[in-house]
Symmetry: C2
Subunit: 337 residues, 2 copies
């Protein structure tokens, strides 16, 4: 209830501020540069619309944390814009790196305008993110702006480290769970941690409170990723909206797969022989479950979820935003919606 | 004299700080990530050495401006590191975009480790640059750190805009001088402007002085680029160390070429018919000169050089660093060395 109500007032403002952050660079001769960003953001071009935009979970998280920590969420808007632009910068570059043809059901930017311009568009989104976060120095305080900028940079460093690991794991068969956590921390958890921390910073909350929000974001990210990995293999395609076959066929190094590899059993031996074919998926899901992967990963997700909600409780989120935050976390982790 | 002396003390410190900014991210499992940056920076791998590193003109400019504006150049080191990392981030991405096989006589990073990892390495250098510049908040002051970070972001935005224009000009024959300046401002002048401005900010110089340094950097960058364009067609290959044929054959949109296109004469008609072949270069150089391009571009370079030195004089650079700065500017623009 609280989440719906607050989302309804925050999301249109987020969209407007994101749009403003991008079109501000418009100058004569740069129309197409802006158009490429507008396409990627889901505002224009084939398939534009809410589906193409994603859920804007990250900026929403910034604003809800700012409000729940006692601040005015409007002051946190530059932080919200910054994290969403960082997220989209990383998507544009990821799609080039993975040679992905589709993103949210539409042609990826690089397939439409070539690697060179897509790479540059990603760089531009990144710069705009950094410019946005520095504006917290004006909307909140110099200290908050500097600390948020510094933290966002550390986050981006973690993102590139996670991406490096992900790319370097390609084609390797000697991996195990120990290789999973640093990758997922960089690729998923770091940015959610930045969302909750920057939200709390924007409210000028006490350091211990900021720290609790930060831990909440980090654990939320880890729990979300582990849950996502679980659904990627055993999820119900109809309710998750993604093909449950894809994670095994795509060769992604998810937690169930890495757990399976470390068992050095039937699954690991098959994996070492090369790409999984779609007609093997059903048998391998059952094999992986028999080797204990499903139970292990499920327990992992439950534990991280519990820890995330405990961290949120320690932050003592207040009022309607506090309720909305709890609701958002539970919804993300259960993946209703 | 002053330049040689100050370079000798500053360059080793710059190299050490650059190295520190990169190896600080080393963690178990990330050796290769650091190795890719170390290779690109010219420290390790085939062909490593001073030639592979470039001249580190940009960080030197930061430190000389800081000292000439009355500051302690050691406090400006985070700014020096930041501009050189931004420069190298843009080189790594440029090489991918242009599919260049060689950079400073060595294999480019993407040809060694693939587009995906090279792209991510460029992103990492960019993040490290942003982290570095924020450290000016500690070595100089919070205000200087925030303003330098903000300005460096604006610079990076100009870089991506210049890069967008450069890429978008490929294959176009309807260009003229008016298309040249925004591209060159972004691709060359913006970063030199950041060097001189961040140097002056690090010395906590008065706003009018910072502004004069900033104009000096911008004009120095424009003058340098125009001079480079001139040498790229009419320079003496032996003394410039680059093939004089390359700029016409490569199809680069340099000022002489754009001037020639706007004359709509013999040169423009030949250009419109497709790539220039090496055996045509000599005749086209003469044609372009006959159409007035050489004189026009030469006058342009002289005027910008004069304006750059005037801006430097307005900044009233002091002491040995002031002399070194004047020497550096004159040397860069005459291209002795």
């Amino acid at each position: 209830m609280s989440l719906q109500k607050l989302s309804d007032s925050m999301l249109p403002v987020i969209e407007q501020e994101l749009n403003h952050a991008i079109i501000q660079i418009l100058q004569p001769g740069l129309d197409d540069m802006v158009a490429m960003m507008n396409y990627h953001m889901g505002w224009v071009g084939e398939g534009a619309g809410p589906e193409a935009r994603g859920k804007r979970i990250r900026p929403l998280l910034v604003l809800l944390c700012a409000a729940a920590a006692g601040g005015d969420w409007r002051g946190a808007l530059p932080g919200a814009v910054a994290v969403e632009l960082v997220h989209n910068f990383s998507l544009v570059h990821d799609d080039i790196q993975d040679q992905s043809p589709l993103r949210r059901g539409r042609a990826t930017l690089w397939t439409r305008c070539g690697i060179a311009q897509a790479l540059n568009t990603g760089d531009t989104l990144f710069v705009l993110a950094q410019l946005a976060v520095l504006r917290l120095a004006e909307t909140v305080s110099r200290e908050a702006g500097l600390e948020a900028a510094r933290f966002l940079q550390e986050t981006c460093l973690a993102l590139t480290q996670g991406q490096y690991l992900d790319l370097s794991y390609e084609g390797r068969v000697d991996l195990s769970e120990v290789d999973y956590w640093p990758m997922v921390r960089g690729k998923t958890a770091a940015l959610l941690e930045a969302c909750t921390y920057i939200g709390a910073l924007s409210a000028q909350a006490q350091p211990a409170v900021c720290q609790a929000y930060r831990e909440f974001g980090n654990l939320l990210g880890l729990a979300f990723q582990v849950q996502d990995d679980l659904l990627g293999i055993w999820g119900d395609a109809a309710s998750t909206g993604k093909s449950t076959a894809s994670d095994l066929v795509s060769g992604k190094k998810t937690l169930p797969v890495l757990y399976g590899l470390s068992q050095q059993g039937v699954f690991a031996r098959r994996w070492a022989q090369g790409a999984i074919q779609p007609d093997e998926v059903q048998a391998l899901r059952i094999q992986l479950e028999a080797e204990g992967a499903r139970r292990y990963v499920s327990e992992c997700a439950d534990q991280l979820t519990r820890q995330a909600l405990e961290a949120l409780a320690r932050a003592r989120p207040a009022g309607e935003a506090g309720q909305a935050l709890d609701e958002l976390a539970r919804r993300l982790l259960k993946r209703e919606n």
